[in-house]
């Protein structure tokens, strides 16, 4: 029987494949006029799924975003709105 004895997994971060975005009922939408890219949404997102390229705007990774709404509540500029997902 082929297996790594003890069940050790030799590949890290496999959960990257899991599209937890399907859990959402509401999705966070950033108002670019109000957002100042302070990155508090990233600091306080439990899953840490806010990304940005150097010098560019923050982006929410909707593949993973579970729609918990913490970013919307915590944004100091109220720049995030939780919008109901379409069916």
């Amino acid at each position: 029987m082929k297996m790594i004895r003890g069940g050790a997994v030799h590949k890290m971060g496999g959960t990257r494949q899991m599209k937890t975005g399907v859990w959402r009922t509401f999705k966070p939408v950033i108002n670019r006029d109000t957002c100042n890219n302070c990155k508090i949404c990233f600091m306080l997102c439990p899953d840490g799924i806010v990304y940005w390229e150097k010098g560019k705007d923050v982006e929410i990774d909707y593949f993973y975003c579970k729609g918990c709404g913490i970013c919307a509540v915590e944004c100091p500029k109220d720049a995030i709105e939780m919008v109901r997902e379409e069916e």
């Binding site: 029987m1 297996m3 590949k11 496999g14 937890t20």
Partner: protein, 693 residues
Amino acid sequence: MNRMFLSGSEAATEGVKLSRVQVISAYPISPNVNVIGTLSEMVNDGELDAEFVNVEGEHSAASVIAGASAAGSRAFTASCGQGIAFMHEMLWMASGMALPIVIAVTSRGIGIPQTLACDFSDIASERDASILHFYTETAQEVVDSIIMAYKVSEHPDVLLPSFVCLEGYRLTHTYEPVDVPTQEAVDEFLPPYQPKHAFLDPKYPIMQGTGTVEFFSHFKYAQHEALIRAKSVLKDTFKEFGQKFGRNYDLVESYRVDDADMVLVVLGTMAGVIREVVDEYREKGVKLGMLKIRIFRPFPDEEIRQALKGVGKVLVVERFNSPGSHGVTYTELRSALYREKPLVSAMVITSAELYHEDVRKIVDMGLDRNDEFEEWYIEDIPDKVLQAGGWDNYQAICQGKEVEREDVKDVKSYIAPGTSACQGCAPLLALRHIADAMGDDAVCVYATGCMQTVTSGFPLVGWNMASAHFCFTNVASAGSGVKAAFKQKGSDTKVLVLGGDGALADIGFQPLSGAVERGHAITSVCYDNEAYMNTGVQRSSTTSYQARTKTTPGGKQEFRKDISRIMEAHGIYVATALPCFPGDLVKKIEKANSIKGPAFVHVLCPCPTGWEFDPSISIQLSRLAFETGSWVLYEYENGERTISRLPKERKPVEEYLKLQGRFSKLTDEHLAVIQKEVDERFESLTSGASTKP
């Protein structure tokens, strides 16, 4: 008699209630949670007059009921898997002391791998502990077996503990109509427990639990004899039960065995499916039969011989294999049938779910073959699952090749996205900051709990850091072993020991204290969500006063155990933190890592599921914990306390509590008591302490 629609778990609780159990101990381990949760409600509602004791581990769960039984009371607990393993010593102690406790084993496999699948390894591993084994197939059998177990266990000719096994999920979580006996009828059948051999009465002092070398074998003989006598006590009890309640049981149950060419032998719920396949084959003219073993200890060898007389082929459908030898049922059955010499084969299914199609395959193999065989009902792990688990990497290092670890190159965090944590999970937020603060020369050892469950399912794991999950009970001791290994090799690799409040303040507290006392330079972090959340919200020692959980339906009566203060008493660096101040948390982790000795960081993490609030305010709640003084942010080192941050104006604790559904039944009186406690603790921590500049 009342006809009720019950799950196996609920049936067990009906049995416990009708048996008028006096002391119940409770420790959550899925899937026993509905048994202990329902019993907790029954006691809280006054339906059952029993002492309900929430303990800090299964070792204590068994000890509490052994103590109660030694004091002359009827006692009960439910456990399974590694919980049974953790109470191993107590089981031998209890049977040695002749204490007739009854334990419902909501059977699940003993980890590692951590599992919820049932393969009877928990109960079968205790088969030599002089305990009676009842295996049940239906919820009906569960309620009946609990009642009968007390009657048999407490019989003067027996005086041994009993296990009543109901399979995890298959039986605990499925529903069926059950005839529940009336209390009057059970009272007539099962009198109160009035031991003559073991009790604790100051007016008639006796001494229990003696030691002996020369007479040790006599005690063992007495236990063995008691189990042998238990067979006739069981038969008498079954007969009496049948007369009184109309359901006839026996040590084994034969189904269409009389003229069978082949008989399948089984324990537990599988009998349900197998019985139907037997009928199916009989329709086709194939003479199939089934023998269900209901009582496994004492082993019913004579009854098996009688039932299988003249049968040519016996096929054991085996759940529990003894590695390096043969299946447990198979070995004992084969030994019982030695003289009759039928062909006895085994199909080892371990924890597999058997559907009709599976049983047909097994039957067909048995019918086809004319040799004695032992096969495993198992398929290879699919290649894509192996690959996902890093099979390629493993093969490469086995062959001495250099491995390009694409999976860890360019990762943004040591905790990968896509883990199955709840929406708004504050422990996950804390974890990703903590893990990332560990730096690139660190490993993490973590305990069973929420953060373990959501990140360590095979083969897709949520870690990008070298890490290991051992048990619930031992994260600190396993972590100190890891550190010792690094130390011996002269490596400075940091070790993060991560556990929840359950793992570090309760079941794993002794190892934490030991590891810290020994001075290993490990950073222990407790993510405290104030309950056993992973198993469905049962109270822990750090659950807040008056909080509602599944095992404190009327609100917790005790205040939080102040685990930080206890760790301070060990003379080490202790810091408290909150997920709303990630910068502060990271600094404290870095400080803890820089210390040449043990360090303990305690993070309060709100849990939307367990505390009952909208996930979006998870961080806001932790901020309110700070602003109300319910959680004080500080560092303690060398006898000095430094407050990290103080709220400008302390808010009333009600602002923090009113947002949490678990406090919805708080009275003004409770609130006043809580406010007083918060005020006193805040005062005692902050007065005389220096404040960070």
